[in-house]
């Protein structure tokens, strides 16, 4: 039986539904777009292996057939381009060619064949021949008469494929003619009209009244003025006598990168060879005098001069190169090498024991010390010169004692949301070392504090921050790695360390190396390697948007 209703329920029920709906909606208000929670992650991040190839730049490494490794480093002392020995400067030549006076029909020659000589502006050298890489000749002529002149301009000594340079052109009456022509590729005979001179070139010109003119009267004696300008000359080849000159190089410094990461400590190599290689690819005799070489360690402020009486302040003659006649490889260089080693110098005991990061040197190069003994047959091919390189060759057999290597790396994790979601935990570095040295490792974070880059934290947990050396065994008269050794390094990730890492601008990786204590030089083989794995063990704030 239904209860009786006296009025519709619409208003009260509708109000009830509205309240209920509002309550339901308000209770569903979202706090954020994505829920989040903390999870404990244990997972490998990175695995890698390092051999000596990773530790030293590939260009510095030479692997021998027996898998031993040599460090090879080349530093350039002289890179003397011989182009400067015979530079042809811009040259101007102004000549006047008389014009006949009188009344002449069209086609009549009014300037006779008139050779003139152009002298090139070179100093101290006697050039007989040149092949041009670039050169421009600007021919400027003024026509002083009222009708068109036809001229025939020729440089008999400038030939391309045996054909002399020639310009056949016209100049309207009372006008100035100016045109520039390229002489690139031309061969210049600089012996002049008689073939016995030098640094000279002859020019000839003839001129006619244009055939389009019936006749023309030249009232007064006048002349055709020719102004030639030869400029921007670069020779592919020159021949002659290139003079006697002295080139002083230095004192100057060059970076020496072989030990650039070493901060301190002792590193002794069983053997060090330096070869001073001198390469003369110019047709002149040269004498090289190495006045001084010093090893400079700017970190310790120590400078050690090379003591080697057979090389330092001792003139070394490098005779002239010869021409092969092969255009593809026209020069047969003369190479001379001088060896500097521990028996004739202080190279091992002092010079490289200083662990230099710079080399300083000064030397002198004397060209044609005996004068013109080639009979004007000195030569230069463009791009060739006199070079001297210092080649350092170190068999990687070493003893290291507290050798501190440091490298600074740029870091920018401030935008990494992932690392900022790490609450706490550790990174673990699992290492399997097959290299014959142990290394105490630390990573420092650096940040700008008061505009000064300051160390803010160290990351690797101490004191167990040593990568243990591989086990060694005496095999075949040599100490070799017998088995790899495992190590585990921990990087605790507290909130403060994470903040320091996130805010860091740079990190310094500092490693102190020691070879095993056998007091024997240890050969490094190319197959020795260090395997490592970085494992994350941390509490991480995960959200569905991660």
């Amino acid at each position: 039986m239904y209860l009786t209703m006296t009025k519709p329920l619409f208003n009260s029920y509708f109000l009830f539904f509205l309240i209920l709906t509002a309550f339901a909606l308000s209770s569903c208000k979202k706090e954020s777009d994505q829920p989040s929670w903390d999870v404990d992650i244990l997972a490998p991040l990175i695995s890698s292996s390092m051999t000596i190839n990773n530790l030293v730049s590939d260009t510095l490494i030479k692997i021998n057939p027996d898998s031993t490794v040599n460090l090879v480093y080349t530093s350039s002392l002289i890179n003397y381009s011989a182009d400067s020995l015979a530079q042809i400067r811009d040259t101007n030549l102004v000549s006047g060619f008389p014009i006949f006076s009188g009344t002449f029909p069209g086609g009549y020659q009014i300037v006779p064949l008139t050779p003139t000589v152009m002298n090139f502006q070179v100093s101290g050298v006697v050039l007989k021949k040149a092949i041009l890489k670039t050169e421009f000749i600007n021919i400027i002529m003024s026509n002083p008469i009222g009708c068109t002149l036809i001229f025939d301009y020729e440089v008999p000594g400038a030939t391309l494929g045996g054909i002399p340079f020639r310009v056949f052109d016209s100049i309207p009456g009372n006008t100035r003619y100016s045109k520039t022509f390229s002489l690139a590729g031309y061969s210049l005979d600089l012996t002049g009209p008689g073939g016995t001179s030098s640094n000279t070139m002859s020019v000839s010109i003839v001129a006619y009244i244009s055939k389009n003119v019936l006749k023309y009267t030249i009232p007064n004696t006048t002349a055709l003025i020719d102004s030639n300008r030869i400029y921007n000359t670069q020779a592919e080849y020159v021949q002659g006598y290139l003079g006697q000159s002295t080139k002083n190089i230095g004192p100057q410094r060059s970076a020496f990168s072989l030990f650039k990461s070493i901060r301190s400590g002792i590193l002794n190599f069983s053997k060090i060879n330096i070869t001073l290689d001198m390469d003369n690819s110019v047709g002149v005799d040269a004498t090289i005098n190495l006045l001084k070489i010093s090893s400079i360690n700017t970190k310790t402020g120590t400078t050690v001069n090379l003591i080697c009486p057979s090389v330092i302040n001792n003139s070394i003659n490098v005779s002239r190169a010869s021409q092969t006649g092969n255009p593809a490889s026209p020069v047969d260089s003369t190479i001379k090498s001088v060896v500097i080693n521990s028996s004739n110098s202080n190279i091992s005991t002092q010079f490289f024991a200083n662990l230099p990061n710079q080399l300083a040197y000064s030397l002198q190069v004397l060209v044609n010390p005996l004068g013109n003994i080639s009979g004007d047959n000195d030569f230069i091919y463009s791009g060739h010169g006199i070079n001297a390189n210092l080649q350092v060759n170190i068999p990687l057999s070493a003893l290291a004692s507290n050798l501190v290597l440091a490298d600074t790396l740029l870091l920018n994790l401030s935008n990494s949301k992932q690392i900022q979601k790490v609450n706490s935990g550790s990174l673990y570095l699992y290492l399997t070392n097959g290299l014959p040295f142990n290394a105490q490792v630390q990573i420092y974070t650096l940040n700008n504090i008061n505009n000064k880059l300051t160390i803010t934290d160290s990351l690797i947990q101490t004191p167990n921050n040593t990568i243990l050396s591989a086990n060694m065994a005496y095999i075949g008269n040599l100490w070799k790695v017998s088995s790899s050794v495992n190590s585990k390094l921990a990087i605790p990730l507290t909130k403060s360390k994470i903040n320091n890492l996130v805010n860091a601008k740079k990190v310094i990786v500092l490693a102190t190396f020691n070879t095993p204590a056998q007091n024997n030089f240890i050969n490094i083989y190319s197959y020795y390697q260090l395997d490592f794995k970085l494992v994350a063990d941390f509490n991480y704030n995960l959200s569905t948007k991660n």
Partner: protein, 398 residues
């Protein structure tokens, strides 16, 4: 329940209604945990561990959110179609269901460290997400005393989004020190076009059929029985060629991203250190058409009416949707001819035990409203309740 006031408007020929319903049920995850996920809260470890402590060997979760407009028309007695009622509806349907092991829950919410030296097992993990729009027309016979009433609705479906993960095998082994992880899997992942998932986006098309038959009996005066057998959402959706099927059927050993030169990070594989690169190593993904079956419902219901009381009882099963047979019993009491309340209980489905309650009111002038929840416990004791649901309907007879 939506039909409980129909007798008040038997003279009306048209009915228009707006309906919405939503539920989220599980047999192991409490309501407040689901709410915390939905509301974007930061979930504490203690909260997670409480939930993890109550997990079953196999855990289920299911959720739906549907809303629709519905129109029905009864031709007058003079019409040649006077024996029938016609209806039309437009519905937006979202269905989610899944089953998962306790290990998977722990891996997701606690991380893999707790499995160091052990294997986390996610075998038989399954997750289905289906979103589609339904355009339905139908016909049913008018109630005839003592006779069988039947009806059928045919639907055209617009597929909006589909995702299906089925892991026949999935095991994750974490080495004791974390130096490597092994993932042994036989997983198939199907998904429709993920670049186009907004409401109404068309990534597939399908059909659906609903059908029912019911019969009323008069046992004695004022005591009647109505039994009903119903099939709902029998159908399929074919998803277009922008869909993808990914298969992971391998043992993957992961021991960190391999870096060629650790001292030269710019040229090394650091940039590959992301989840995508690992995913791509494990999974082979191919584009192409896929098909999905609707989570169809088989429903048997019986309503006993006596004076102002009704007792509704029934069983319901949703196939291919990680659903357990649901048994329910609900009592309706008409306080007045225009106001009805209900209370009942159910067992099964996506949850274990649930209490349902509802309210229906005839507001007069043809307006009827219903508010119903199959899981009222989820609003009262969300800390331990395993389900929450609400259903709202506003109807106008005219």
């Amino acid at each position: 329940m939506r039909e409980c006031f129909d007798a008040n408007y038997s003279d009306k020929r048209s009915t228009f209604s707006i309906n919405a319903d939503a539920f989220c049920n599980s047999n192991s995850i409490p309501v407040d945990f689901v709410d915390a996920l939905y509301l974007g809260q930061n979930i504490s470890s203690g909260f997670i561990n409480n939930v993890a402590g109550n997990l079953n060997a196999e855990n289920r979760i299911g959720a739906e959110f549907n809303y629709s407009i519905h129109y029905s028309y009864k031709p007058d007695s003079c019409s040649r179609y006077s024996k029938f009622e016609f209806f039309f509806s437009i519905q937006n349907r979202t269905h989610l269901d899944g089953r998962f092991s306790g290990d998977l829950f722990n891996l997701v919410f606690n991380g893999n460290k707790m499995f160091a030296g052990q294997t986390a097992n996610f075998d038989n993990f399954n997750l289905n997400l289906l979103q589609y729009q339904q355009f339905q027309i139908g016909i049913c016979s008018k109630i005839k005393a003592g006779g069988i009433r039947y009806g059928i609705g045919l639907s055209v479906l617009n597929g909006q989004q589909y995702q299906n993960i089925l892991a026949k095998k999935a095991e994750l082994y974490t080495s004791p020190d974390g130096e490597y992880i092994n993932f042994n899997s036989d997983i198939t992942y199907k998904q429709s076009n993920t670049s186009n998932t907004n409401l109404g986006s068309s990534n597939g098309a399908g059909f659906g059929v609903d059908a029912f038959a019911e019969k009323s009996f008069t046992i004695r005066e004022e005591l009647t029985e109505k039994i009903k057998f119903e099939l709902k959402d029998i159908g399929m959706i074919w998803w277009n060629k922008s869909s993808r099927t990914a298969v992971a059927d391998s043992l993957y050993h992961y021991d960190g991203i391999s870096v060629n030169n650790i001292l030269d990070p710019k040229n090394s594989a650091f940039s590959k250190l992301n989840s995508d690169s690992i995913f791509n190593k494990v999974v082979q993904s191919n584009p192409g058409k896929i098909a999905s079956v609707l989570p169809g419902i088989i429903h048997f219901n019986s309503v006993t009416s006596y004076k102002t009381w009704q007792l509704s009882k029934g069983i319901r099963y949703m196939y291919d949707a990680n659903y357990k047979l649901n048994v329910y019993l609900t009592g309706n009491y008409f306080i007045t001819k225009r106001l009805m309340v209900s209370l009942g209980a159910a067992y099964g489905g996506y949850t274990v035990f649930s209490v349902n309650t509802g309210l229906g009111a005839d507001l007069g002038s043809g307006f009827i409203v219903h508010l119903f929840s199959n899981n009222i416990e989820g609003f009262i004791i969300p800390q331990i309740a395993l389900g929450q649901s609400v259903s709202v309907s506003i109807m106008k007879h005219f």
